[in-house]
């Protein structure tokens, strides 16, 4: 495994500082740069955990038909409008094909991939991956078109479907009376969104079952919605179910005697439908594998994303379902320097392997020995049209250990390694369009024995003439490579993983009035011309696992 570096989004934490890298919460808070967004308004990094997601369009992932939102509700989020009848195999989830009876053989034992309406009826749905076909469960069609409508009848007559329709009717007046919950109050957390159906259901549940709290996503209960719901909760009349779910007669799957009987007479495990095969169903279905029905393909959606605090749009895709373009795309990669990390000793070993003919050789896991010192390289690429100055810091603070941890454990938590980074700020030149297309340029980084070469300003100045590994190693185009060093103690175990604070100073184009509204990560140096601003963000660096050379610990060199 190659060393990795990820970027921090502070949304999971109450402080601007990230969790210690050895904590499980760390991996949840750090992301690859390409997965992050940037809100210019808030001057902050956003991630997929914190952005607000809105559906901007639906489409069928199989026939790629774009489905208008209104009909999505009517069709219960399934592909039906398409003439090609999109169904999924209940056994393997492959897309099913409509085939006529006695499919003509095309040489490999499979029916022809494109149906021709000229075949013989009856038609059925066939899986060309696992060879399941709908005739097995008694579903055949007279015509190869309009299959969805034919199956719809069957689906809609299920007792559970009827019951759900009645429930919806029952709550309809209440839903119409309650104020719209969407689009209110800017500046609130995104969790204030409560689906009216959820609200109604939770209110009914809270009334009927003592001790069940109503579903109140935090914050929201504080103001408006709490009051609204209290005034409304008693207006919902009682609902009397017509069907007792779970005892819908003779059908399997309800947990009744017939189920026990079925399981008792199982001969092979394959007779039982797997959990996965039944999981996606809205209601209980038969556990018998031979009862599985073709599944409607659920629609996919295109999504817009908004900043959770100021609600500005960060991502807005083009309307067309299969377009990969965006009307708005504020991704962090356009604001923050891209940082990649490598271990020269690992790269040297890898280059050796590749030269010896193993072109596909992958970096190996755990290539750092306890008790040794290794240099590492950080390569910074500036996406901005202005040069930037970068400063690096290692986050040194230790996690508070649990109070009941034994002293040994306490000792083991001491950082088993020390990281040295360039202490001075270093420059990265501006991004220029032309560099992107310069294919002939040498972009293979540095020659290991040529550190003091091109533009290597401050390399190893503080190293008592011994090592020249820490400092700026190379500058070319909008890339600056700096060297760092990690000293691993003899007792060290586990991963060499640390948090690194990156601050970069750039020239600001426009004075930002929002600055007074508290953006702690960015500070202004008011008295300089032109106006300079600094933005800081955390990263986590994972250099890999430490190898312990000898279990007995008496390794010598």
């Amino acid at each position: 495994m190659s060393p990795t570096l990820e970027y921090y989004c502070p949304c999971q934490s109450s402080t601007p500082h990230p969790p210690q890298p050895n904590l499980p919460s760390s991996s949840y808070s750090f992301h690859a740069l390409h997965n992050l967004y940037f809100c210019e308004e808030c001057d902050a990094i956003r991630c997929n955990h914190c952005v607000m997601v809105e559906v901007s369009g639906y489409y069928c992932p199989n026939c790629l038909f774009e489905v208008p939102s209104a009909s999505v509700r009517a069709e219960k989020n399934r592909c039906r409008s398409c003439a090609r009848n999109c169904f999924m195999c209940p056994c393997c989830s492959n897309t099913l094909t409509v085939v006529p009876s006695d499919p003509p053989d095309d040489g490999d034992g499979r029916p022809p991939p494109i149906i021709s309406a000229t075949g013989e009826p009856p038609f059925f749905l066939y899986c060309n991956h696992c060879r399941w076909d709908s005739a097995e469960v008694g579903i055949t069609f007279e015509k190869p078109t309009g299959l969805a409508a034919q199956l719809q009848k069957f689906e809609d007559s299920a007792p559970e479907a009827l019951e759900f329709e009645r429930l919806k009717e029952h709550f309809e007046p209440y839903l119409r009376a309650s104020p719209s919950t969407s689009g209110h109050g800017l500046g609130h957390s995104h969790s204030t969104h409560i689906n009216p159906i959820t609200a109604a259901a939770s209110s009914a549940l809270a009334r009927d079952i003592p001790g069940v709290a109503r579903y109140t996503p935090h914050i929201s209960a504080r103001s408006r919605s709490g009051r609204d719901k209290n005034s409304n909760r008693h207006e919902v009349p009682d609902y009397r179910a017509r069907v007792e779910i779970g005892s819908t007669g003779l059908n399997l799957g309800g947990g009744a005697e017939s189920d026990v009987d079925f399981v008792r007479h199982l001969e092979t495990v394959e007779e039982m439908a797997t959990l996965e095969q039944r999981w996606g169903n809205s209601w209980i279905i038969s556990p018998r594998a031979s009862d599985l029905k073709p599944v409607r393909i659920p629609l996919h959606s295109k999504k817009s994303k908004r900043c959770p605090s100021c609600r500005h749009i960060l991502i807005k895709p083009e309307q067309k379902a299969q377009s990969v373009r965006y009307k708005i795309k504020l991704v962090a990669a356009n604001y923050l320097p891209a940082i990649s990390i490598s271990l020269p000793h690992m790269q040297a070993a890898l280059a050796m392997l590749r030269r010896s003919g193993r072109a596909g050789a992958e970096p190996q896991d755990g290539t750092m020995l306890a008790g040794k010192t290794y240099p590492f390289h950080l390569s910074f690429t500036n996406p901005l049209y202005d040069p930037i100055q970068v400063r690096l810091h290692v986050q040194r603070a230790l996690p508070p250990t649990s109070p009941n941890a034994p002293p040994d454990a306490e000792k083991a938590r001491r950082p088993p390694f020390a990281v040295t980074l360039p202490s001075a700020a270093f420059p990265i030149a501006a991004f220029a369009e032309a560099w992107e297309y310069d294919d002939d340029e040498d972009m293979f980084g540095i020659d290991d024995d040529d550190f003091d070469g091109r533009g290597g300003g401050g390399a190893g100045r503080d190293a008592r003439g011994k090592s020249r590994t820490v400092g700026v190693l190379e500058r070319r185009a909008n890339v600056t490579v700096v060297g760092g060093e990690v000293m691993i103690s003899k007792e060290a175990r586990g991963d060499v993983k640390f948090n690194m604070l990156v601050s970069y100073t750039y020239r600001s184009d426009d004075p930002d009035p929002a600055d007074e509204l508290g953006t702690p990560s960015r500070t202004q140096a008011q008295n300089r011309q032109p106006e300079m601003k600094t933005f800081s963000f955390y990263t986590v660096v994972d250099l890999g696992t430490i190898i312990v050379r000898d279990a007995s610990g008496n390794d010598t060199e």
Partner: protein
């Protein structure tokens, strides 16, 4: 900081438009194959331009765009079917910035731009892969599957796993361009044909 990917000089033929085709690849029916430029056909790859539609005249069987990679040991074979009693091959069209991992078999009808296909995959006949999609290593895509834009597929049969990030296009483009630049003759070795 990525390492160069060296090959022995002379092992690859470089065309005017910068395509690099291994001498150890099998290019059948080259007159029916189009390479867009700066595309790499690796050692052991097999491209079946000879499997063309019956009938007279010149026909493009397989076309690949710019900055593509057909990995080591890949097989690119046009899809075929019997329609109204006639057996026929159909053309395969691959866009720009498409990487196909080692030992993958492709019988797709259409692959868009900025698509990554992993190692050891089987891409079934008449599969359509839209822009910026990704197929994970070891995935089997059954015939006639449609892979929507910006989606990741994995498994056997291949299934939708998640949406690809919004910056996929830029990332894949940077990756394919970087790969082409890094793919170069080993300066420390003499050309293969002099040894």
């Amino acid at each position: 900081m990525d390492l160069p990917i060296y090959y022995v000089r002379g092992e690859y033929i470089e065309t005017d438009t910068g395509n690099k085709v291994s001498r150890k690849a099998t290019i059948a029916g080259p007159q029916n194959i189009i390479l867009g430029g700066k595309t790499v056909i690796a050692n052991g790859a097999i491209i079946r331009g000879d499997l063309r539609r019956t009938g007279a005249g010149h026909a493009v069987v397989i076309s690949l765009g710019r900055y593509c990679l057909v990995g080591e040991g890949c097989i690119m074979r046009p899809p075929y079917k019997t329609y109204r009693g006639n057996f026929n091959y159909y053309p395969m069209k691959v866009g720009d910035h498409v990487h196909i991992g080692a030992n993958t078999v492709v019988e797709a009808a259409q692959i868009g731009n900025h698509v990554e296909i992993g190692k050891n995959c089987v891409i079934g006949k008449f599969t359509i892969i839209k822009d910026c999609a990704k197929i994970a290593d070891n995935t089997v895509i059954p015939p006639n599957t449609v892979i929507p834009a910006l989606s990741l597929f994995a498994g056997s049969p291949g299934q939708f796993v998640e949406d690809m990030p919004e910056s996929t296009q830029e990332m894949v483009e940077a990756m394919t361009k970087g790969y082409y630049t890094r793919f170069q003759p080993d300066p420390s070795l003499p050309p293969a044909n002099t040894r």
